[in-house]
C-alpha cells in the first residue's frame, strides 16, 4: 500500500510536470509569436502592452492553480445521494447561464463576428470553456451513481442535457460542440449506454449538424475548403495552405525560434488556433513531435491514473479522470488535425499552448483536480472529512 501510494503521488507529480512543460512551451512560442517587424523579442518581454504579458501572467497563475488544485480531491463534486445540494448540477447551471449571458448586451462580446465571449472586466471569458469541465463533472457525477449496464431510462437525462448544451454552443462554436459531443459520448459509452440508445440519439444529432451546415454558409465553405484547398489557394484554401506552408518550411529542426515567417502577416490566427503551425515552422518536426509526445504522455498518465484511482466512490474519480483526459486529448487532436489539414477548420485552441487566459486557467484547474484524484490521502491529512467526501466512502449502491 505504501508503494502504491508513492506511485500515485509520482503520477500526480508527473501530470503536473507534463502540463507545466506544455505551458512553458506555450509561453515560449507565444513570446516568439509576439516578435515581429515592430517588436524584437526583448521588446516583447519587457513591454507590457503586448498580449504576451498577459500570457506570462496567466501561465504563472495557472501553474499555481494547477499545483494548488492537485491537493483537492474532485470527489467533492460527486453525486450526493438524497441531497438537494448537487455541486455538479450547480456547475452545469453556471455554464448554461454563462452560455446564455453571451447574448446579453453589455456582458457578451462579439469577437471575429461570433458571440462567444463574456466580458468580466479583467479577462475576456469564453463561455464554452466552462461548459467542457461542467459536462465532464456532471456526467461523471450522474453516471457514477448508476450501477447497471442494462438499459437504464435514467441515461436519457444526461443524453438530453448533453444534446441541449451542444445545441446551445454548436450554433456559434461548432468545434466545441463536436468536442463536447465526443467527450460526453465516450463517457456514456464507457459507462455502458447501449449502442442502440446512442444511435437513436445520433440520428437527430446528425440531422442537426447537416441542417447547421446548410444554414451557415461559412461552415459549408470551411468543409469544402478543407477537401479542396488547392482550387482556391488565396480564398477558401488560404488558411490551410499557409498552415501547411509554415509546417513545410520548418523541416526537421525548424527555422529557429523567432525566425518564422508565417506570423509576419501570412498565417491568420497564428496565436490561437494555428499556433501549432508556427511551432512547427520555428522548431520543426522535432518541436511539433515533442508537443505531440507530451500530449500522448498526458493521455498515458490519464490511463495509469484511471487504473490507480480509488474506486470507493462508485467510479466518480475514474470517470472524471477519463473525461478530463479525453477532453484534453480530443481538443489537442482536433486542433492538430485542423492545422495539418486532415480535418476542416473548426476554431479549436491547442490546450496549454494557444493564447487565451480563461481557457488556460480552467484547464489548469481541471488537470489539477485530475492530479488530485490520484493523490493518495488520509482522512486526517486532508481535512476533508467534514465534507464527507474524503476517505473510504460508503458505496452509494449498497
Amino acid at each position: 500500500m505504501q508503494h502504491e501510494e508513492n506511485g500515485s503521488n509520482a503520477l500526480s507529480t508527473w501530470l503536473i510536470i507534463v502540463t507545466g512543460i506544455l505551458m512553458m512551451i506555450g509561453v515560449v512560442i507565444q513570446a516568439s509569436a509576439g516578435t515581429s517587424l515592430d517588436h524584437s523579442l526583448a521588446d516583447v518581454i519587457t513591454k507590457d502592452q503586448s498580449p504576451l504579458a498577459r500570457q506570462w501572467l496567466f501561465a504563472a497563475i495557472g501553474f499555481c492553480v494547477l499545483v494548488a488544485s492537485s491537493y483537492i480531491d474532485p470527489a467533492i463534486l460527486r453525486w450526493r445521494e438524497g441531497s438537494l445540494f448537487q455541486p455538479s448540477l450547480l456547475l452545469l447551471a453556471l455554464a448554461v447561464v454563462a452560455l446564455g449571458a453571451v447574448w446579453v448586451p453589455g456582458i457578451g462580446v462579439i469577437r471575429n463576428s461570433r458571440a462567444r465571449w463574456i466580458d468580466l472586466g479583467v479577462i475576456g471569458f469564453q463561455a464554452s470553456e466552462l461548459a467542457k469541465p461542467a459536462i465532464v463533472v456532471f456526467l461523471a457525477a450522474f453516471l457514477s451513481g448508476r450501477k447497471t449496464r442494462k438499459a437504464d431510462p435514467g441515461l436519457w437525462w444526461p443524453m438530453l442535457i448533453l444534446a441541449l448544451l451542444c445545441g446551445m454552443i454548436g450554433n456559434e462554436d461548432f468545434g466545441t460542440a463536436v468536442l463536447l459531443a465526443a467527450v460526453g459520448g465516450s463517457m456514456l459509452l464507457v459507462r455502458g449506454i447501449r449502442i442502440a440508445t446512442l444511435a437513436a440519439w445520433a440520428i437527430p444529432a446528425v440531422g442537426a449538424i447537416v441542417a447547421m451546415f446548410f444554414t451557415h454558409e461559412y461552415r459549408m465553405k470551411r468543409l469544402l475548403g478543407f477537401l479542396r484547398i488547392w482550387e482556391d489557394p488565396f480564398g477558401k484554401g488560404y488558411h490551410q495552405i499557409q498552415s501547411l506552408a509554415a509546417i513545410a518550411s520548418g523541416g526537421w529542426t525548424g527555422q529557429g525560434l523567432g525566425s518564422g515567417m508565417a506570423k509576419q502577416g501570412y498565417l491568420p490566427e497564428y496565436r490561437t488556433d494555428f499556433i501549432f503551425a508556427l511551432l512547427c515552422e520555428e522548431t520543426g518536426i522535432l518541436g511539433g513531435g515533442i508537443v505531440i509526445l507530451l500530449f500522448t504522455a498526458f493521455v498515458v498518465l490519464g490511463i495509469l491514473a484511471m487504473n490507480r484511482v480509488a474506486t470507493d466512490d462508485g467510479g466518480f474519480r475514474k470517470l472524471f479522470i477519463f473525461g478530463i483526459t479525453a477532453t484534453i486529448a480530443f481538443q489537442a487532436l482536433m486542433n492538430i488535425a485542423v492545422v495539418t489539414v486532415v480535418a476542416p477548420t473548426k476554431g479549436i485552441a491547442l490546450p496549454f499552448i494557444s493564447a487565451g487566459g480563461s481557457s488556460l486557467l480552467i484547464f489548469c484547474l481541471t488537470v489539477g483536480l485530475l492530479a488530485g484524484a490520484v493523490r493518495p490521502r488520509q482522512a486526517d491529512m486532508t481535512g476533508m472529512a467534514t465534507l464527507g467526501v474524503s476517505g473510504p466512502l460508503p458505496d452509494p449502491a449498497s
Binding site: L189, V190, A245, A248
Partner: protein, 631 residues
C-alpha cells in the same frame, strides 16, 4: 442491483476507457506521421509557395561596358539615372497622387492617372512612371513622400558623340538590351551579368522588406568594353561630307565607308540621313532632307523612316553597283592574260552588238586601250574584255573578290549581296556583270574588295572591333595584323591596276573631281540605275552615283567609298559629279589628319598615261567638272 452487474460494468469500463484513450494516442501517432508527411511529400510545392510570397528578388543591374573609338575616345557609356515607379495597390487616391506628381515629372496628370489605372487593372504591383530622370527631379519626387511611389537608379546608355556612327554602334533598349548594331552583336560581352538582391517580405499590405538573404544574393558582373577600329575624327569627316553631298544634290541619302587597305580595319562607316541614338525613338529619316521635307503624318510611315535611318546601309543593304564594279572584272582579264596592254579596242561608235545585245556608251570614245576602257568607263570595252574572258573566268574573279557572299564582318544582319551562280547566267550576263549589273553588293563589300586591288591583291576581312576589354580594362583580345581571306590578284596585276589603270581614272577619266593637290588619288566612278524593289526593270531617272577611291597612289593608306542615292537629276547624278568630290575631301582630311607625306609628284610623267591630249589637258585643272561620262 447486484454486485455482479457492478463488476460487469467495471469490467466494461476498465476495458473501454483505456481502449478509447489508447485510440486517441494512436491518432496522435498518426498526426505525427502527418507532420513528417507534410515535410516530405508536398513540401516542395509548399516551399515554392512560401518562396513566391515571401521572397522579393530585386535585380541589381550590371553596368554596361563602354565603347571607345580606336584612339580611346568614349563613344557610348552608361550612367545611373533615377526612374520613378509606382505600386498602384498602395495608392488610395490616384488622381491626387497624379496631380502632385505631374509638375515634378513634367507629365500630364491624366496620363499618370491612366498609367496607374492600367497597372491596377492588370493587377500589377509595379509600373514605371518616368524613366531616366535628372537627379534633382528624383529628389523632388522623394520629397513628396507619396505612398506607393518610389525611385530606383537605372543604368542609362549615353552616346557622347550624338549621332556619330550611330548605325554602327546601334541602340540599347531602356532595359539595357542591345537591339541593333554592335550593341546587339556584342551584347553578351557589353551587358555583363545582372546580380540580384534577395530579401524577405512580410505578409502585410505594405509588404515591408524584412531581411536580406545573403546566401541567395549575387553581385552583378559589370560588362566589358569595346575598342572599335573606327576613328571618330575620320567618321565626322565622312558624315560631314556625306551630308553636304546629299543636301547639295538633294539626294535621298548617302552611304560611305572608309577602310584601311592593309589591315581591313573599317575607319569610318556612315550614312545620311542619320539619327541620334540618345533620342532614337524620335529618329526621323526625313531629318534635314530638302527633297522630302514634309513630315509624314502617318505614324507607321514615321516608324518606317526611323527604321530606315537606323539600318546600317553600308553593311545591311546591297545595291547594284554599276561601273564602279568594272575594275574587278578588268583586273581579272589582266590576270587571265586575255588582254594585251598595247592592244586597242574600237569603241568609237558608242554602240556595239554583243550577240543579241546592243551595248551603249554614254559617249563615243573612239579607239581605247585597256587603261582607256577603265578611265573612260567604256561599257563596250568591258564587253570586249568579257567576251574574251568567258563566263567562268568572270564568275571566278568576281567570286574571288568576295562578291556574292558575306565579308564576315562582325556585325548583325550583314547582307550577302547577289551574284547568280554560273548555271543561272543568261546570254546577257556575260556583258551585264562586268559593267556592274545583275549583281548587288554592299558598300562594305565594295570597299573591302577595292582594298584587295590597292593593297597588292589580298582580300582582307573587314573589321570593326580592334580590342575587347574586360570590365576592369584588361585587354582580353587584341586584333592586330590582318585577317587574310585569300590572294585574289598577283602583285603585278594589282600594282598595275593601282598605279596605272585606276590612277588614270582620276588623271584622265571621270575621277578628276576626286583629285588632290598633294596626293595622287586613284579610284573608280560609277553611276548605277536603281532597280525597282518589287518589279523588273529600273526606275526612270533614279541613279546611285558612287566613287571608290584610295590615296596616295604609291602606297595607299586609306580607301574611301561614297554612294549618293537618288540625287535630283537636274543637279547631277554621275558618280564623278555627286560622289567623287566628297571622296576627294574625305581622303584629304584623312591624309592630313595622319600627316601622310605628299606624293612625289602628282603630275609626274611616271603617272601619266598616253591617252590623248584632251585628257592631259584636264590634269592641269582637275577640279573642273569632267566632260567625260561613264556608262
Amino acid at each position: 442491483m447486484s454486485g455482479k452487474a457492478v463488476a460487469g460494468q467495471d469490467r466494461w469500463f476498465n476495458t473501454m476507457g483505456p481502449l478509447i484513450l489508447v485510440c486517441l494516442c494512436l491518432i496522435f501517432c498518426f498526426l505525427f506521421a502527418r507532420l513528417i508527411h507534410i515535410n516530405t511529400y508536398p513540401a516542395e510545392k509548399l516551399r515554392r509557395i512560401v518562396d513566391r510570397q515571401q521572397r522579393s528578388v530585386t535585380p541589381v543591374p550590371a553596368r554596361r561596358g563602354s565603347v571607345f573609338d580606336v584612339e580611346g575616345r568614349l563613344l557610348a557609356g552608361t550612367r545611373l539615372r533615377p526612374s520613378v515607379f509606382a505600386d498602384p495597390s498602395l495608392i488610395d487616391n490616384f488622381s491626387e497622387t497624379a496631380r502632385k506628381l505631374a509638375p515634378v515629372l513634367e507629365l500630364p496628370a491624366g496620363a499618370i492617372e491612366q498609367e496607374l489605372r492600367e497597372a491596377r487593372e492588370r493587377r500589377s504591383r509595379f509600373c514605371w512612371l518616368k524613366r531616366g530622370l535628372e537627379s534633382p527631379d528624383a529628389l523632388a519626387v522623394q520629397a513628396l513622400r507619396l505612398r506607393g511611389i518610389g525611385t530606383r537608379d537605372e543604368p542609362k546608355r549615353f552616346y557622347l558623340m550624338g549621332s556619330l556612327m550611330s548605325q554602327t554602334l546601334g541602340i540599347v533598349s531602356r532595359d539595357g538590351n542591345g537591339l541593333e548594331g554592335l550593341e546587339y552583336y556584342y551584347d553578351e560581352h557589353l551587358r555583363g551579368v545582372d546580380g540580384r538582391r534577395v530579401t524577405v517580405r512580410d505578409g502585410s499590405r505594405s509588404r515591408r522588406l524584412m531581411r536580406s538573404r545573403d546566401e541567395q544574393c549575387v553581385d552583378p558582373r559589370d560588362g566589358g568594353h569595346l575598342v572599335l577600329t573606327l576613328d571618330s575624327v575620320i567618321q565626322s569627316s565622312l558624315e560631314k561630307h556625306l551630308r553636304e553631298a546629299v543636301l547639295r544634290f538633294e539626294a535621298s541619302g548617302g552611304v560611305g565607308v572608309v577602310m584601311s587597305p592593309h589591315t581591313g580595319d573599317v575607319l569610318a562607316m556612315g550614312q545620311w540621313p542619320t539619327f541620334d541614338a540618345n533620342t532614337f525613338r524620335d529618329a526621323d529619316a526625313s531629318d534635314d532632307l530638302s527633297n522630302d521635307a514634309s513630315e509624314p503624318e502617318d505614324p507607321k510611315e514615321r516608324e518606317k523612316r526611323a527604321l530606315l535611318a537606323r539600318r546600317n546601309r553600308a553593311v545591311c543593304n546591297a545595291v547594284e553597283p554599276g561601273s564602279i564594279f568594272k575594275p574587278f572584272v578588268a583586273s581579272g582579264a589582266l590576270l587571265a592574260g586575255v588582254v594585251d596592254l598595247e592592244e586597242s579596242f574600237d569603241c568609237g561608235r558608242g554602240t556595239h552588238l554583243f550577240g543579241r545585245r546592243l551595248m551603249h556608251d554614254s559617249h563615243a570614245s573612239g579607239v581605247l586601250d585597256f587603261n582607256g576602257i577603265i578611265a573612260q568607263s567604256s561599257n563596250i570595252g568591258m564587253g570586249y574584255l568579257a567576251e574574251r574572258m568567258g563566263d567562268e573566268a568572270i564568275y571566278n574573279i568576281v567570286r574571288s573578290f568576295g562578291f556574292g557572299r558575306r565579308t564576315g564582318v562582325k556585325f548583325p544582319g550583314e547582307a550577302t549581296g547577289l551574284l547568280r551562280p554560273l548555271k543561272r547566267w543568261t546570254s546577257w550576263s556575260t556583258t551585264s556583270i562586268p559593267i556592274g549589273q545583275e549583281v548587288a553588293v554592299t558598300p562594305l563589300q565594295m570597299t573591302s574588295s577595292f582594298c584587295a586591288i590597292v593593297n597588292g591583291g589580298v582580300l582582307l576581312k573587314p573589321r570593326l572591333v580592334r580590342a575587347i576589354l574586360s570590365s576592369d580594362g584588361r585587354c582580353d583580345e587584341l586584333r592586330e595584323g590582318a585577317d587574310v581571306v585569300r590572294e585574289v590578284l598577283s602583285a603585278e596585276v594589282a600594282d598595275y591596276m593601282r598605279e596605272v589603270s585606276l590612277v588614270g581614272v582620276v588623271k584622265h577619266g571621270g575621277g578628276k573631281t576626286a583629285a588632290l593637290d598633294r596626293w595622287q588619288v586613284l579610284g573608280k566612278t560609277g553611276t548605277a540605275q536603281v532597280p525597282y524593289e518589287d518589279a523588273p526593270g529600273y526606275e526612270p531617272d533614279m541613279y546611285i552615283g558612287s566613287f571608290v577611291g584610295a590615296a596616295p597612289a604609291e602606297n595607299p593608306v586609306v580607301v574611301v567609298l561614297v554612294m549618293i542615292h537618288k540625287p535630283r537629276m537636274k543637279l547631277g547624278y554621275y558618280g564623278s559629279k555627286v560622289a567623287a568630290p566628297a571622296v576627294g575631301r574625305i581622303l584629304e582630311d584623312v591624309l592630313t589628319y595622319w600627316e601622310i607625306p605628299a606624293s612625289p609628284n602628282a603630275a609626274d610623267e611616271e603617272w601619266a598615261l598616253d591617252s590623248g591630249d584632251e585628257a592631259m589637258a584636264d590634269v592641269v585643272d582637275y577640279r573642273v567638272e569632267s566632260s567625260l561620262n561613264e556608262r
